[in-house]
C-alpha cells in the first residue's frame, strides 16, 4: 500500500467519530436526494398514467375558425369589426384519409376516431348530464385500457352492438342501473335513444365515473344526427409520450388539422407538475448541498487538527501533493462509504413507501427505483466529497512547516 494511502487509512481509523459523522452526512444527503427525485418521477408517471386513462397522447381535431375578410386586396387593409367564429361544422373531412396518413408515421402506435356527444342520462324522472364517447372498442381499449377498469359485464359485448353502452360506476349508482338494464339517452341534438348496459367501469376518478359512458362510433353519430363519416376527433397514441408535442406538430403539418399533445391539453396539470418539480429539485439539492457543507466543515476540521502532522510530514520530505493525496483519499473514502450507505438507505425508504396505500386512482404510493437518479446521486455525492476534501487539503499543502513549528 502506498504510504499516503496508509496514512489516510490510519487517520480514518483513529478518528472514527469524525469519520462516522461525515459518512452519516453523505448517507443522509444522498438518500434524500435519490428518494425525493425518485418520488418526483413516480408522481409524474402516476399523473401521466391517470391522464392517459382518458386522454390520448395526441388529439387531432378541426379548430374553430375566426371569420376573415373574403377578399384579399393588396395595398388596402381590410378590417372586420367584431369577427366571430365561422359557423362551420367541426368535423374532419375524409377521416379515413387522415387516419391512414397518420398511421404511416413511424412513431405512431394507435390511431382511432372518436365522436363525443354531450348527453343526458334519463331513468324515470332522474336526469344526469354526461359525456358519451363514440369509440371503436378495440382501439380505444388499447389506448385507455378500458377493460382493466370494467367491474361488471365486459367491453367485448360492446363490439358490434350498436345499442350497447358502457357506463361509469357513478352513473350506475346514482340511477341504480345494473348490467342488462336499459338507459334512455337524450342528446344535445334532441335525439332520444335507449341503450342496453353491457358493462360498468370504475376508474376511481369520480368526475369520470359520474359522467362518462362509451358507445360505438355509429351510435354517437346517430345521437348527433350525423352520418357515418362524421368524426370530430382522431386520437393518436405514440411510442414515447414525451415526444407528443413534436409529433403533434408533424401531424398538424401533414394533415392541416389542429393536433394537440397531451401536455397542451392538460396545461393546469402540467403546471402543477412543473411546480412540484421545482420544489422537489430545490429541496433535494439544498439538502445535498447542506450535507456537502457539513462534510467540508468536518474535513476542514480534521485538517486543522492535523496541521502539526502536516508540518512534520513536510519537514520529513513529504511534498505538497502527498499532503493533498492523504486528505483527498480520506475524503473519497468517506464519500464512497457514504454513497454506498446512501444508496442502501434510499432503497430501504423507497421499498417502505411502495407498500404504503394512498387510495384513489393511484393505489400504492407511486415511487420506483430510478436508476438514473441513483447514478446522479452517486456522481454528485462523489464530486461534492472530493472537493470538500480537496479544497482544505490544497490550502494545507501550501502552508510552511516552519510557521507551525515556531508557534
Amino acid at each position: 500500500m502506498n504510504i499516503n494511502t496508509q496514512i489516510a487509512k490510519t487517520y480514518i481509523i483513529t478518528n472514527k467519530k469524525l469519520t462516522g459523522v461525515a459518512v452519516a452526512g453523505v448517507v443522509l444527503g444522498m438518500s434524500i436526494y435519490i428518494f425525493m427525485n425518485s418520488m418526483l418521477l413516480g408522481f409524474d408517471k402516476a399523473s401521466s398514467k391517470s391522464i392517459f386513462k382518458t386522454t390520448p397522447h395526441i388529439r387531432v381535431y378541426m379548430d374553430d375558425e375566426i371569420s376573415k375578410p373574403l377578399v384579399s386586396s393588396n395595398g388596402k387593409q381590410m378590417l372586420l369589426v367584431n369577427p366571430k367564429i365561422v359557423p362551420a361544422k367541426n368535423t374532419i373531412i375524409n377521416p379515413g384519409l387522415v387516419i391512414s396518413t397518420i398511421q404511416k408515421m413511424e412513431e405512431v402506435e394507435i390511431v382511432t376516431s372518436q365522436v363525443n356527444a354531450n348527453i343526458f342520462y334519463n331513468s324515470g324522472k332522474s336526469q344526469i348530464t354526461g359525456l358519451c364517447s363514440g369509440i371503436n372498442p378495440e382501439d380505444a381499449d388499447r389506448m385507455y385500457a378500458i377493460s382493466s377498469t370494467i367491474v361488471e359485464g365486459s367491453l367485448g359485448a360492446l363490439k358490434g352492438n350498436p345499442n350497447g353502452i358502457l357506463i361509469g360506476s357513478g352513473v350506475s349508482e346514482k340511477m341504480s342501473l345494473r348490467e342488462n338494464d336499459y338507459v334512455n339517452i337524450t342528446s344535445s341534438k334532441g335525439v332520444n335513444k335507449a341503450f342496453k348496459i353491457v358493462g360498468i367501469f370504475k376508474t376511481n376518478n369520480s368526475v369520470i365515473d359520474k359522467t362518462k359512458s362509451y358507445v360505438n362510433v355509429l351510435a354517437s353519430q346517430q345521437l348527433l344526427k350525423e352520418g357515418n363519416v362524421y368524426v370530430t376527433d382522431i386520437n393518436v397514441n405514440i411510442k414515447n409520450p414525451d415526444d407528443a408535442e413534436k409529433i403533434a406538430m408533424q401531424i398538424s403539418a401533414s394533415t392541416g388539422y389542429k393536433a394537440e399533445g397531451w401536455r397542451q391539453a392538460n396545461e393546469s396539470l402540467m403546471a402543477a407538475q412543473r411546480m412540484r418539480k421545482i420544489i422537489i429539485t430545490f429541496v433535494s439539492t439544498t439538502i445535498l448541498l447542506v450535507a456537502g457543507f457539513g462534510i467540508y466543515n468536518i474535513l476542514n476540521m480534521t485538517i486543522t487538527q492535523k496541521i502539526n502532522d502536516i508540518a512534520i510530514l513536510k519537514a520529513m520530505g513529504f511534498k505538497g501533493n502527498d499532503v493533498v493525496r492523504i486528505f483527498v483519499t480520506q475524503a473519497v473514502t468517506v464519500g464512497v462509504m457514504g454513497v454506498i450507505g446512501g444508496m442502501i438507505m434510499a432503497t430501504v425508504i423507497i421499498t417502505l413507501l411502495q407498500h404504503v396505500y394512498v387510495g384513489g386512482d393511484i393505489g400504492y404510493f407511486p415511487i420506483t427505483y430510478e436508476v438514473t437518479k441513483y447514478i446522479q446521486g452517486v456522481v454528485v455525492g462523489m464530486v461534492i466529497t472530493f472537493f470538500a476534501g480537496y479544497i482544505p487539503a490544497k490550502k494545507a499543502a501550501n502552508i510552511d512547516p516552519v510557521e507551525i513549528f515556531r508557534k
Binding site: 504510504i3 496508509q6 490510519t10 487517520y11 483513529t14 478518528n15 502539526n308 502532522d309 508540518a311 512534520i312 510530514l313 513536510k314 519537514a315 520529513m316 520530505g317 513529504f318 511534498k319 505538497g320 501533493n321 502527498d322 510552511d400 512547516p401 516552519v402 513549528f405
Partner: protein
C-alpha cells in the same frame, strides 16, 4: 569535502517590528564533522537551523548542500532533498500521535521508497534498539514520556542514513545517561559512517566534546 556551505545568510523578521535575526552568517561544514551550535537563548540558533534544513526559504544569501545551490530549487525538490539527505530532530519532539513509535520511525523511509517494507521495519527496530526503545516500538507515540519521544524522533532522523543530521536541542529532554547514549551515537555516526552532525545545544559538556563549536550572539557568528 564540504557538505554544507552557508554564504552570507541574513534573515529579517518584520513582525512586530523589523529586526535582523541572522546577520551575514558564513561558514562551511565538512563531511563527517560533528558540529555543535551554541549561544544564548534568542541568539537565533533555531532560526538558523530552520534555514540550514531548507525548511525556511525566506532569507538572503546562499545555502549549498552536498554541492547543490538550494536557492534555485522548488519546494518539492527541497522536500525530496530533505527526505534523502537530511534527518531533523526538532526542539519539541514532534511525532505523529496517531501512529506507533515504529511507524513514526519508518515514515521517512517509506516515503523515500528505496527499501522494501520488511527491510525498513527491520532497520527501524535496529534504530529503536540502539536508543533503548525496543520495548516501546508498538506503543502509540503519544503514550510515551517526553524523553522517550525525543529518542524516537532521533531514531526517525537516522532511518534514511542522511548525509546531515540536524538537531535542535536533541538532548534537551534527556537525563545524563540517555544524553551520553545520544552523544555516542552521534559520534559513531560521524567517525565511522561519515555522517555530518549539526546540533544546537545548551549543554556545555556536550558541546566541548564535539569536533567543532559555532557560537552565535545576537544573530552573528562570534566563534566557529
Amino acid at each position: 569535502m564540504k557538505i554544507l556551505e552557508s554564504k552570507a545568510i541574513s534573515k529579517y523578521f518584520t513582525d512586530p517590528v523589523e529586526f535582523q535575526v541572522l546577520k551575514d552568517i558564513s561558514f562551511d561544514v565538512e563531511k563527517g564533522e560533528f558540529t555543535t551550535l551554541v549561544g544564548k537563548s534568542g541568539s537565533g540558533k533555531s532560526t538558523l537551523l530552520y534555514v540550514l534544513s531548507t525548511m525556511d526559504t525566506d532569507y538572503k544569501g546562499q545555502l549549498i548542500i552536498d554541492g547543490q545551490l538550494t536557492g534555485s530549487m522548488t519546494k518539492d525538490e527541497l522536500a525530496g532533498l530533505r527526505n534523502e539527505k537530511i534527518g531533523f530532530v526538532f526542539q519539541f519532539h514532534y511525532l505523529l500521535s496517531d501512529f506507533t513509535c515504529l511507524q513514526n520511525v519508518m515514515l521517512p523511509a517509506l516515503k523515500l521508497g528505496k527499501l522494501s517494507k520488511d527491510e525498513i521495519q527491520e532497520r527501524a527496530y535496529q534504530k529503536l534498539a540502539m536508543l533503548g526503545l525496543s520495548d516501546q516500538a508498538l506503543k502509540l507515540s503519544s503514550k510515551l514520556s517526553g524523553g522517550q519521544q525525543q529518542r524516537v524522533a532521533i531514531a526517525r532522523a537516522l532511518i534514511n542514513d542522511p548525509l546531515i543530521i540536524m538537531g535542535d536541542e536533541p538532548t534537551g529532554n534527556l537525563d545524563s545517561k540517555n544524553t551520553r547514549i545520544v552523544f555516542d551515537i552521534f559520534q559513531e555516526l560521524s567517525k565511522n559512517y561519515g555522517q555530518t552532525i549539526i546540533a544546537v545545544t545548551h549543554d556545555d559538556d556536550f558541546a566541548s566534546k564535539s569536533d567543532r563549536i559555532i557560537e552565535l550572539k545576537d544573530g552573528e557568528v562570534i566563534r566557529s
